[in-house]
């Protein structure tokens, strides 16, 4: 864990509750992540991880409770969203745009321009390992390359909070290592990162702390190493583990 995370937390959720139809998808969740900290969000399918990510990203609003980003309330406000980078579960890039055009689009959408934008776009291309193929359309990339570009577009504006929802799905082992190194580098630069994953090895490699969700509630919040001693995380991630 970086010393940065001892500063005031970048992302805080207090008593957050959200219903989807008749189901309570997120039920009174308290959560926080500080600058320079990577927190894993673990839980079986249907635990509420993605709904919680959407609440953090400002795509959904909580029915109860409060979420703050860098001390600012209500992530649905554009000025709060500007501080958040969100890579959802599905690979969300424009296939008919080149790697560079995708990054430029998301950079401009976050208000970047001029030299700052060019620097960040180049950084994103290098992060994704696509600098030499920057003018190629995303439709010509492999699944892993598209996935890396997807993550790069989420951090192109250097957000203080980065939300990664299963970022390594469909990525081969080499590319996964490259991507995890990039996540660690962002942590070291002071980003607060929420990392949802089903891969325990990734969680152990890159995350400082893990928050375990079950049926929309937090059932554990501890350093990853400690959690491994008290819970059968493998079984939990397969969806068969008892909390």
């Amino acid at each position: 864990m970086s010393n940065l995370c001892r500063m005031s937390p970048s992302l805080v959720a207090r008593g957050v509750k959200r219903r989807l139809g008749t189901n309570v998808a997120v039920d009174g969740v308290d959560f926080q992540v500080g600058p320079g900290e990577v927190v894993a969000l673990l839980g079986p399918n249907g635990a509420g991880k993605t709904t919680l990510m959407h609440l953090f990203a400002g795509v959904l609003t909580p029915d109860e409770g409060e979420i703050t980003v860098d001390g600012l309330t209500d992530p649905t406000r554009p000025e709060v969203r500007a501080r958040v980078g969100f890579a959802p579960q599905a690979t969300a890039v424009y296939d008919e745009l080149s790697a560079e055009e995708n990054l430029v689009f998301f950079a401009r959408l976050h208000g970047l321009s001029g030299a700052r934008m060019r620097d960040r776009v180049e950084h994103g291309l290098r992060f994704a390992g696509l600098f030499d193929r920057r003018s190629h359309r995303a439709s010509t990339f492999s699944g892993g390359m598209r996935r890396r570009l997807h993550v790069a577009t989420a951090l192109v504006h250097a957000p203080s909070v980065l939300l990664l929802d299963e970022p390594t799905v469909g990525v081969d082992a080499n590319a996964r290592g490259h991507l995890l190194d990039g996540v660690a580098a962002h942590r070291d630069q002071g980003s607060a990162i929420v990392y949802a994953s089903h891969h325990l090895d990734e969680v152990e490699r890159v995350c400082d702390r893990a928050v375990v969700l079950s049926l929309g509630r937090v059932i554990a919040d501890a350093p990853v190493a400690d959690l491994g001693r008290t819970m059968d995380l493998e079984a939990l991630l397969r969806g068969s583990g008892a909390p």
């Binding site: 990203a57 400002g58 795509v59 554009p78 000025e79 709060v80 969203r81 500007a82 958040v84 969100f86 959802p88 579960q89 599905a90 690979t91 969300a92 890039v93 424009y94 296939d95 008919e96 745009l97 055009e101 689009f105 998301f106 401009r108 959408l109 976050h110 208000g111 321009s113 359309r137 577009t153």
Partner: protein, 349 residues
């Protein structure tokens, strides 16, 4: 660059790179114009052919035909048998037989009018024209005047306004499909998580559709002018007509993009709505051959007003004030659709 323009630029870039979308926006309308421009005879689609057998051969009978023959009815003089044969072959709307003794009204027999039952509205038009001719009689000479520019000089002048509307339908369909693809791929979620308000997203998409429709319509009109000698009688009215059409279809696209919860639902609803508008609006079958009830119904389709505005600015040469009703109708459709789309988008979000 503002977020709305960034979104518009991205959407336009995606449209240009989508070969399928380009086909529907440019190639299909051109193919439509070529096919229907060749099918529509040179201006004859506005004429109604009537086979006339004048067995009276008097000044009264020829005067009556002259009086009835205005406003698009053309008499072809043949024998009575040949006249009915032409109606049966579909070469004439009706056959008229003026019996001997027509000029002596007290002794004359009634005029025999045989109408093709499948062309009822044109038959009614012929009947009205004959009634007018009978009322005027031959004693009152008719003073006829041709209004310049109101009749199409070629089939292409009739076909191209409809073709432009097909291009706009193609653009709207392509953008609705792109909106669906964004939902499916997750990029829509990324846009919603971006630091822009919902109305900025909608404005960005609206700008993209309006620009694409304007460029598409302008290209098609230029092709019509340069390659097919379609007249543009009102250069001042043409930008107004094109802009009104573009804004109308921009608003429609925003609405179509939220008509349904799934990609399939949106796609089905978008194309069904656009095709229905085309069908009743005169982009498939010209308004001039539609029955009266369908012409009335066609006012509910922006396609009709688009065709009227474009015809008015091209071969009809209507002054701007006469284009305004059609342009206002288009703007009203566009703004109402945009407001409904914005409302539904907010609810979906």
């Amino acid at each position: 660059m503002s977020p709305a323009l960034t979104i518009a630029q991205k959407d336009l870039r995606l449209l240009v790179r989508d070969k399928g979308a380009l086909f529907w926006a440019c190639v299909f309308p051109l193919a439509f114009a070529l096919l229907f421009g060749a099918i529509y005879p040179h201006g004859a689609s506005t004429k109604i052919i009537v086979a006339a057998s004048d067995e009276d051969r008097s000044e009264a009978s020829s005067g009556m035909l002259t009086a009835a023959g205005g406003a698009g009815v053309t008499f072809v003089h043949v024998s009575a048998a040949e006249g009915e044969a032409r109606v049966r072959r579909g070469e004439a709307v009706a056959a008229i037989r003026i019996p001997p003794g027509f000029s002596q009204l007290s002794a004359g027999r009634p005029i025999d009018l045989a109408v093709d039952p499948s062309r009822g509205s044109e038959g009614a038009y012929v009947e009205a024209a004959l009634t007018r001719g009978l009322a005027n009689g031959c004693a009152v000479p008719l003073s006829r005047r041709s209004v310049a520019g109101t009749a199409p000089r070629s089939g292409f002048e009739l076909a191209f306004p409809a073709a432009v509307l097909w291009g706009l339908i193609g653009c709207a369909g392509a953008f609705a499909a792109a909106s669906m693809a964004e939902r499916r791929s997750g990029t829509h979620l990324r846009l919603r998580a971006a630091p822009v308000r919902l109305h900025t997203l909608l404005v960005g998409k609206l700008i993209a559709v309006v620009v694409a429709c304007t460029v598409d319509a302008t290209i098609l009109v230029l092709i019509a002018r340069v390659l097919f000698d379609v007249r543009i009688e009102r250069f001042s009215g043409l930008p107004l007509a094109i802009a009104s059409c573009a804004i109308c279809f921009g608003g429609l696209t925003v609405l179509l993009g939220v008509l349904g919860r799934t990609e399939q639902a949106v796609g089905g609803a978008a194309w069904a709505t656009l095709l229905l508008m085309a069908m009743i609006g005169g982009a498939m079958v010209p308004l001039s051959v539609m029955p009266e009830w369908m012409r009335t119904l066609s006012s509910a389709s922006p396609v009709k007003w688009g065709i009227m505005a474009l015809e008015g600015a091209t071969f009809r040469g209507l002054p701007t004030r006469e284009l305004l009703p059609a342009c206002f109708a288009l703007l009203a459709f566009g703004l109402a659709s945009l407001a409904s789309g914005a409302f539904l988008s907010r609810r979906v979000a």
